[in-house]
Amino acid sequence: MGRSGKNEPVFMQPAIFITTSVLVGLLFALQEWMSLRHMGYHVHPVIFFECWGFQFLVWGAICWLLWRFFGSQIQRANIQTILTVFLPLSVVISLAQQMLWVLIFPNLPLNHPETSYWRRLSIYIYAELLNNMLIFWCAFLLFRGIGYYQRYREHEDAKSALEVQLANAQLAAMRMQLNPHFLFNAMNSISSLMRSDVEAADDMLEQLSCLLRMSLERGEAQLIALREEIEFTEMYLAMQGRRYAGRVEQTMRVDAELYDALVPSMLLQPIVENAYVHGLSKTEAPGMLVLEGRRNGPQMRLTVTNSGIGLNPRTDRDTNRRGVGLRNIQKRLELHYGGDSHFDITQIDPRHVQVTIVLPLHYPANEIRPVARFGTQ
């Protein structure tokens, strides 16, 4: 069975593997030659490099073939298979390798001229068989180790893929197109206006349609240009402006360089909605709502300030009471940006509440195409 999975380590490519094996052999040759010199023997070094190099070349090839054709069996083998299959196999392969080696080097061992092949073979089997088997079992352990590593990696990959999937699902659930609560309230306002002011009802219905269109147009996109989010919020504000009969002074100041910056969709509308529901609607006095966007180095800072009744120190500071909208925003910011974003709601004075969002400044990779068309007639 082939082991050419995509997680296969690069050193298992045949050229690399066998070359590495030969290099190990040459190191052994160097070591033996030097230790013999140290003991006073002077032998030509080439013979050491030849025989060690050849031995490890053959072993490299054998081990690579083992990996190629028995890799998965090695990785899956239980103790019974190891004892009944791989132990005998290791003996057979070691013997075969030794036979080949003795055949290739008829002059070895050096001080035994005119010795028969079988005689020389028995000398080497006596001296080297265990070493050879050790090489086999080292390779065996290496292949098992690779198997464990691969399975660990696959497991990790699957786990992170699952996490991404989960995060996306959570985001999709939280990025509600429009708060149904808002939708039904708006319809109720329209229904009420239909009896008193048909044109106002018409206007509001049209505005609501615009909001729905924009929201549908975004589709599943999680991140949109800040300008689109501002347009959406403007339309929402226009509608609220009608509901509150111009009682609220709405101001919007956004740095033009932020228009194309990416923000999570439905980021501002829930905050503005919150400002109306929990602040501006609670007081009869003329109110104000200010939306600001500023660049702050590598970040953008968005604030929504509204007048009203301030925060209730006991309940509103508590995250659970902040309303689903704001909590969703906070969670989505965490999912999108991890620790790089900041969300905060504070009372700047007893009558004013400010929501601050700080996000890393990102721009879309693709150039945004102009949408206007020109014509005559």
């Binding site: 044109e199 269109r213 347009e231 959406f232 949408v371 020109f374 005559t376 007639q377």
Partner: protein, 249 residues
Amino acid sequence: MIRTVLADDEVLARQKLRQLLTENEDVEIVGECASAREILELVELTTPDLLFIDIRMSDSDGFEIIDALSANANSKRPQVIFVTADDKFAARAFDIHAVDYLLKPFTMERLQVALLRARERLASCIAGANGQSVMREPDRYTTRMVFKSRGRILFLPVSDIRWIEAEENYVRICTATESHLLRETIGRVESRLDPQIFLRVHRSAIVNLHYVREVINEADGDATVMLMSGEKIRMSRSYRSRIRKLISA
């Protein structure tokens, strides 16, 4: 009278149009229809000036009908106002020179704007037929633009634009009542506009000379363009003599 045909396969949609249009005394509804075949017959029979048409009707596509009407050499194609719930055909409608593109649901106000444009268009057609050429340098400069803004589609005559301001990669197009942010460069917009009417007064501003009240010299040697609506727009020195010439002319 503007002889008008309404085409929509929904009864209630036609009813709404009819009710709103009857408030306009110069509009006469000469027929209503609900299918492609009916439209072609009715238009042939009544030769209307104006056609309100839905794009998606049960048996046909509004554009095919317009094509068929345009191909008919016997009669002149009526002016067309699309009335549809679909916002993705606006550019196509613009290309076939539709007067306007109303998104359902629309308001009375929006319908009035569309009617106003239709009246202008019809008037200029009559003038053209009488041999008085009203077009100056036809096709060189844009006379209207189409774009989306806040979920709406605008077929904006450039004569409605009071001034245009650059904001980074965007331009802000200001009309009497609204402003629209468009992803365009001010240079590109300037090149499409008639320089006899629209003047670049600053690196980041273009004004419609029809709405300029005066040019005020500031103490520091710079100048400000004051619009009739009261807005003040900064002006570069290099443009000052040009605007004087154009205003006095």
